[in-house]
Structure formats: C-alpha cells, structure tokens
Amino acid sequence: MEEEIGFTKEHEWVIIKEGLALVGISDFAQNQLGDIVSIELPKIGSKFKYMEAMAIIDSIKASSDIYCPISGEIVELNEDLLEHPEQINQSPYDLGWIVKIKPLNFKENIKEFTDLMSKEQYDKYVGEIE
C-alpha cells in the first residue's frame, strides 16, 4: 500500500508514507473550485473522525469543506498554503498537500483505506460527474 494514492468521493486524495497519511485535494477538485484564495487549516494535535470536516478551502465561487479521509490526529500542516493558497491550484498532488495525519486505530483505518477509490476508479467516478 506504500505510496499508493487513494481518493474519496469528496475529492480528497491520500497517500500513506512512513506510517502517516498525506492528504490533499484532487486536480479535478481544484479545477472545479477555480482560483483558491485561502485555506483554513486545523490545529496540530486535533483529532478527526473519518469524513469529518477538518479544513475549509475558499475560492471566489465556493467555500468547501475538506473531509478527513483517515481517522486520526493532525501531526503536520502545510503552512505555506496560508501565504500561497494558489499552490493547491498549481500543484494539487505535490506542493499543494494540506495535512499529514497519524492514523489512530490500525484496524479501522485499514477499512477506511480500502474504501478509497484507486486512480482508475476515481477517474471513472469523475468522468460520470462531468
């Protein structure tokens, strides 16, 4: 599972790396939102349950919640985004990462992680929305 990317129906992506879940939003999502103008990040140390709203992204058109794709504790934030939210538009899978989460409960997390869509499944899902 290492380094494999998974997607939620709410358009977050997750990559598990060194026991931590790296989370961002998909290219499709950033495109739909248009120019992102700001992001409201959670606090380090705060805990979120599966698919609980943990951050808010604002564009001119919309203000969207970012949902927690893996139950756990926030251990790192991409604070660059506070100054440069446009990185989410420019580089959604790399510079535009949002938080790192330490999964809480291995067993449950496994289920959450297997519920995620693969890249192919997600592309198909997005194709249907469009």
Partner: protein
C-alpha cells in the same frame, strides 16, 4: 395613489402579445383564490396621506431627552440628510455588480476603516442589524472558532441586549455560565456599561484568553470612543456594538446600525458583507464585495450567518457623519456629552441624589433619588422633559449628550427641586 405607469392601451397590447385577454388568466393558478377585496382602508391620495401621517405624528410628544440606554440623541449636521437623500444611494441594493456600484462599495470600505480606527481592530464588516443581534452573532462566531458553547457575560450589559442573547442562545443551544473555564467560548463586557461605568478591561480579557476563550467588547455609545481607549488596545478579539450615535435619528428604535469588528485571525468567520480594495483589468483601483463564498447564498446551511439585507444606508449615514464631524467634531461631541452629564450629576448630588456608579462614567449615570423616581419622571414629562429611566429601588438612569444645554439642565434641576 397609483404607482403603476402602464396605460390602458399598453396593457391591452401586452396582453395581446402574451396571447391572453385579461390579467385574470395569468393568476388563475394562484390557489386558493381570495374571494373578496382585502379589507384595507380606502386608497389615499398623496395629499390625504400627508394629512393623515401628520396627524399621527402629532399624537406623539417630542420630549427633551435625558435618556440614553442604547439610543442616544446626538446632533446631526444638516448636510448629512441632503447626501442621504440621493436616490443613487438609497434606491439601490447590495452592490453585487461592482462596476456600477463603486460609490457604495467605496463608502462601505470607508465605513469599515472608520470602525477599525475607532475600535483599534483589524477588520470590520459593512454592518449588521443593530447592536444586540450583532452581539448575538459574535457569540455564534466565538463558538464556531473555539468549538465551545458556554458564554460568560460581565454585569452591566444592557438588559435588552441580554434578552436578545437569551433568545438566540435558546434557539441555538448555548449556555450562560458564571465561570470562565475551558468550556467558555467567549467573555462579554459592555464598555461603557449600561450604567455608564467605564473601565480598562485588560484584566478581564487576560482571564478570557488564559481560558482559551475570545474576549468580546460591546460598545453601545460609540461617541465614547472619541476619548476612551479603543478596545483593541485592551485585548478585545471582537468588538461589536450600536452605531446609532453616529448620525442616525432616534427613529423610535430603528433602523439602527450594528457594527462588527475583529482581529485578523477571525477574518474568515465574519458574518455579513465586506468590501475590499482591488484593481480592474486596466490596473485601476476599485472595490468589490469579498469573501462572498462564505455567505448564505452560496454556502447555505454551512454559511457563517444567515444575514443578507443589513443596514447599508445606516452605515452610509455613519460614514458621512464621521466624515463631516471629523476628529475635532467627534471629540467635541464626546467632551460636551461628558461635561453635560457631569454637570447634571453634580447638580443632582446637590439636591439630595446619591451617586451609585462605582467607577468613573462617560455620559450616563445611575443615581438613587431622594423622592419617588416615578413622581420625578412624570413631573418632568409634564414639563416636556424625558428625565430618566426608573430602574427600580428608587434608582434612575440618566444620560446627557451635547443636545442638553446648560439651560436645559437648569430647568431640569429647578423642576425636580420643586417637587414636594
């Protein structure tokens, strides 16, 4: 009166174009049909209407006002009303189309700036309904920021404001407590308080912050800010209040002007409209409504608030008022209000009234009357003076502004002295 311009000839042509013979055909699916004429009074001509309204106005008595309590009788420069009567200002709506509403957007920006300068805060919105519901919005914001739902209110909050908070809190599941702890979302203090007391609230704000709560200052008589320390300097995270003192008539209680200012870390949670400066395609300076994505028409049930129509024209009135009065004029208002109140206070003390304010006051004060307040107030009213509010237990809340002349104060005293 008939405010419909359509001639009968035009009406016929329009019906023909639509392909029907009468307006009834257009409304036949509005069900159930109302079977009779509405039982309202007969239509009035402008002439009759004016007569009727004047007779209603004459059934009210305008008194010399020595009462504040959230509604202050200040002088309004004549130029203000002339500017406010511009149809280009008062017959438009929220400036959604920035290109044709630069005027109103700039005045909103100026209003926000005035409020920030006066309160010592970073960001202000373009207005809320009035002081009390603005304070309720501040509680909602505190809870959304802290994730907590307990509210601590310092003594001395305007009783009607407290009632409004109780209404909102019942509806929205908040609790009032007398403790400041790790459940406290916010600590609220009015300054000057309902009894006119003014103080530096630094210690209270530190207590709030230590507990992880937000500190809210509520300013109901904002002319005080011309001479008093701005709340931003003693730790307020949110300053809300009532802007009526800035150029808005008493209006029997409304429309008034809620203002709402915060430190920048709360910027994205502000309810209502905000105007921001930016540039156009040619690089020229201009203004737009900003952060609309957080508002109800886009974010619906997850919006920062349900507010839509706010008090734009009242914010404009305040902006023009502050521009006309200027730094010097506003200071004069505050100094005169302060000085008249202290003069009346001194004279009342001289005829047996007892001071009850534990702290210094600005333009409003509480006294224990040597005779029944009911009698004092009714005697004054018979002489055309609204002399104070009876707060029970022989106490009276009294207020002065620059509108109360020294002669008015002499008259007040001599009438009260004459009561046996």
């Amino acid at each position: 009166m008939n405010y419909i311009p359509t001639s009968e000839k035009d009406q016929k042509e329009m019906l023909k174009q639509i392909g029907i013979s009468s307006i009834d055909d257009l409304v036949k699916e509005f069900k159930p049909p109302f079977p009779r004429k509405l039982s309202l009074s007969k239509s009035m001509s402008e002439f009759d209407l004016t007569k009727h309204m004047k007779s209603l106005a004459l059934r009210n008595r305008i008194l010399k006002c020595f009462v504040g309590a959230g509604s202050y009788n200040h002088y309004i420069p004549s130029a203000l009303n002339h500017l406010l009567m511009r149809g280009e200002f008062y017959t438009g709506y929220t400036p959604y189309q920035a290109e044709i509403n630069q005027g109103i957007l700039q005045t909103m920006y100026e209003f926000q700036s005035f409020i920030c300068l006066l309160t010592g805060m970073d960001v202000a919105n373009a207005s809320l309904y009035e002081g009390a519901s603005a304070l309720a919005e501040a509680i909602l914001m505190s809870s959304s920021y802290t994730g907590r739902n307990h509210v601590f209110v310092k003594n001395g909050l305007h009783p009607q404001y407290l009632e409004v908070l109780q209404t909102y809190c019942k509806g929205t599941d908040f609790e009032f407590t007398d403790k400041i702890d790790d459940k406290t979302a916010c600590v609220i203090a009015q300054n000057p308080d309902f009894y006119g007391n003014v103080e530096n609230l630094l210690q209270l704000s530190e207590r709030a912050h230590k507990a992880g709560a937000l500190f809210i200052t509520c300013v109901v008589e904002p002319t005080s800010l011309a001479i008093l320390e701005p709340p931003g300097n003693y730790g307020a995270d949110i300053v809300v209040g009532e802007g009526q003192s800035f150029g808005i008539p008493l209006n029997f209680g409304g429309p008034y002007l809620g203002f709402f200012a915060v430190k920048d870390f709360l910027l994205k949670k502000i309810p209502g409209r905000i105007s921001g400066m930016t540039t156009d395609s040619k690089g020229d300076k201009g203004f737009v409504l900003t952060f609309q994505a957080r508002e109800q028409h886009i974010r619906r049930e997850r919006a920062t608030s349900n507010i839509t129509t706010n008090e734009g024209l009242m914010a404009l009135a305040s902006t023009i008022y502050l521009a006309l009065m200027g730094r010097t004029g506003l200071r004069d208002v505050a100094k005169l209000s302060y000085s008249r109140a202290h003069l009346l206070f001194k004279k009342l003390k001289g005829i047996g009234f007892e001071a009850l304010n534990g702290k210094p006051f600005y333009n409003e004060f509480l006294m224990k009357a040597p005779k029944s307040p009911e009698k004092i107030i009714s005697t004054l009213i018979n002489n055309g003076i609204f002399g104070g509010l009876d707060l029970g237990k022989d106490t009276m809340l009294i207020c002065c502004t620059e509108m109360n002349t020294i002669q008015d104060i002499e008259n007040y005293i001599s009438i009260v002295r004459g009561i046996t």
